[in-house]
Symmetry: C2
Subunit: 355 residues, 2 copies
């Protein structure tokens, strides 16, 4: 391997307004060469990044933190591992990397790790929040951007910890063919629940029904009346809603929730980039139906991570769980893939493979 | 006492639309006389009603259950002790009564009881959901329409069970001078919290500050910007919100919630009678701030009632707690008092004393 390189990065050009666009990002190759070595005494780790995760929260990190827009401001306050992106600097997210040099005794050259990395070919990182990958487990490395890292823990913690599911309950998942949704639906089936999902294309609905084993599913873009679609698919009402989208869907779900229903609020992707958020009008039913609605982040459940792996790895081995990724090759195709998330262009977990 | 009477009742004339009005109710004196005796073998109890409670949920019970309006429909489904009101029949609610005849061995003539009763002078009731009042406790009988029954349990369960308060946390209470709000604020002070309340008049704000011991308070009608009012009174943010009003207030509170904040959704009185509900736009922060928002009804916490009394009676005895009632005399003044609730005319717990 060469020992000096020109690093390629995905840089935020400027803070975004509204929906992120490809033109908000740029690919830059450093004019200077860098050595693929860490400084002795620095305790740093040099990694070559292999896979990058595209996640909806990244769009909110592209906005100006103090722009008065509620969500980006708050996101910065509350996520300790990751700060809002800075114009002129690379964006960042979960990535899988190979250690190519290390001054940290707990990581050695040749180790594979996952954690937050900048979107670039080579990164100098610290051990904080960096997880070593057990290469004896026979799964694709890309899984550590998703099912075996934050995405998986998100689905697990949101469904099991927030929703306390019981066998026979009804579960509705929005954005169900996405990274988190596909897992929640399958976890719910493993629990013996009746599971319905919504997604935004026929292809995704087919996946839900034929690959992920959902009991029923609908394409929300083809339903003139979401309330009617939910009543048709879940005439017995909804005990658990795994919320990924917000807005009109949440309003319709509220009308269909059962008494003592639980809503895990994982995300509200339909609302993140609107100029004016859709108002949710049916919150009154939260009182009458005694609904618990709870937001969460996987970061709050890091202590459950090993328990999650003990649960999910056997499921993968025994093929009780399938996992669909949408892998795009090349860092230069990263911006389009990330931006596509906000328009539902991904089918399954969106991953960038750095060629 | 006479043994036959003409019963006076408050009758729902017709289902309501929008805000309930006095003209939706009528006072009727029965043309027929009734005997103040229960039928032997009926297991029934005949009571003379002394005090009636006015509660916000009663307004939603005046609407047609299957009118498609989300809340009245649901209310009927979910409250087991009380059904939606029926035109031509008396409305009903929590009341304090004296037993004047009984065919139920667990209740004797001369006992005082509280439970759901029709709005009328005399009622034949069952023992289901009927609580005997311990007359050795030295409190006004009217307290059993509020602080010593459903209102009190609502404040207690919502604050302690849903919000899990900790000493030093910040608490915001809307409709804070109302029946439930005044208790929540005082419970929070007893817990060592910093407590701020909102109310709709200078008189009520004065009560919060000078009688109930709130740390700060504001008149929401005089605040052009609720967000700014909350930031002024709670610069350190809100850990716990006790929600009584909904709509714009909830939207502003969401902007000021702290990470891992809790919202007990007791009611949304500002929204119950609007033609179109105000949309709540800031729900996204539920994710970033990992907020728990939970609706509840006191009926779900009936098993905590004796524990609540053990807590609240010493507080009353030792004058650590004050309780303000707004008592109107005469069943014929009941409709105005009930309707007044929806316009914030009551100061403290609205009670009807049947003369």
């Amino acid at each position: 391997m060469e020992t000096t390189v020109r690093n390629k990065q995905v840089i935020l050009k400027h803070y975004t307004k509204g929906f992120p666009e490809e033109s908000d990002l740029m690919i830059v190759t450093s004019p200077d060469t860098m050595e693929l070595k860490v400084k002795p005494g620095s305790s740093a780790i040099m990694v070559k990044n292999l896979f990058l995760s595209c996640d909806p929260y990244m769009g909110t990190f592209m906005r100006e933190p103090d722009s008065g827009s509620s969500d980006s401001e708050v996101a910065v306050e509350t996520l300790s591992l990751l700060d809002a992106f800075i114009p002129g600097k690379p964006i960042a997210g979960v990535g899988v990397s190979e250690v190519i040099d290390s001054d940290d005794p707990s990581f050695a050259k040749g180790d594979f790790v996952w954690g937050i990395v900048d979107w670039e070919e080579y990164s100098t990182v610290s051990s904080f929040g960096r997880f070593k990958i057990d290469m004896s487990i026979n799964v694709p490395l890309s899984y550590y951007t998703g099912i075996l890292s934050v995405t998986g823990l998100t689905a697990y913690a949101g469904f099991f910890e927030i929703c306390s599911p019981k066998k026979g309950e009804t579960v509705f998942v929005s954005a169900a063919a996405g990274a988190v949704g596909q897992l929640v639906g399958q976890f719910a089936k493993l629990m013996g629940c009746y599971v319905v999902g919504s997604a935004g294309s026929k292809q995704k609905v087919d996946l839900l029904l034929n690959k992920f084993g959902f009991d029923d599913a609908f394409n929300y873009k083809e339903e003139p009346d979401l309330n009617a679609a939910l009543k048709r698919c879940l005439p017995q009402g909804i005990d658990i809603y795994f919320e990924n989208v917000g807005g009109k869907m949440l309003d319709s779900v509220l009308m269909n929730m059962n008494v003592h229903g639980r809503i895990a609020v994982c995300g509200m992707i339909s609302q993140y980039h609107l100029e004016t958020q859709e108002g949710v009008k049916n919150l009154q039913v939260v009182v009458y139906k005694r609904i618990k609605m709870q937001g969460f982040l996987a970061f709050d459940f890091v202590d459950r991570f090993s328990k999650y792996l003990e649960f999910v790895l056997p499921c993968l081995n025994e093929r009780k769980l399938v996992y669909v990724e949408d892998i795009v090759e090349g860092l230069e195709n990263g911006p389009a893939a990330l931006v596509g998330l906000f328009h539902g262009q991904n089918v399954g977990k969106q991953v960038i493979k750095i060629a």
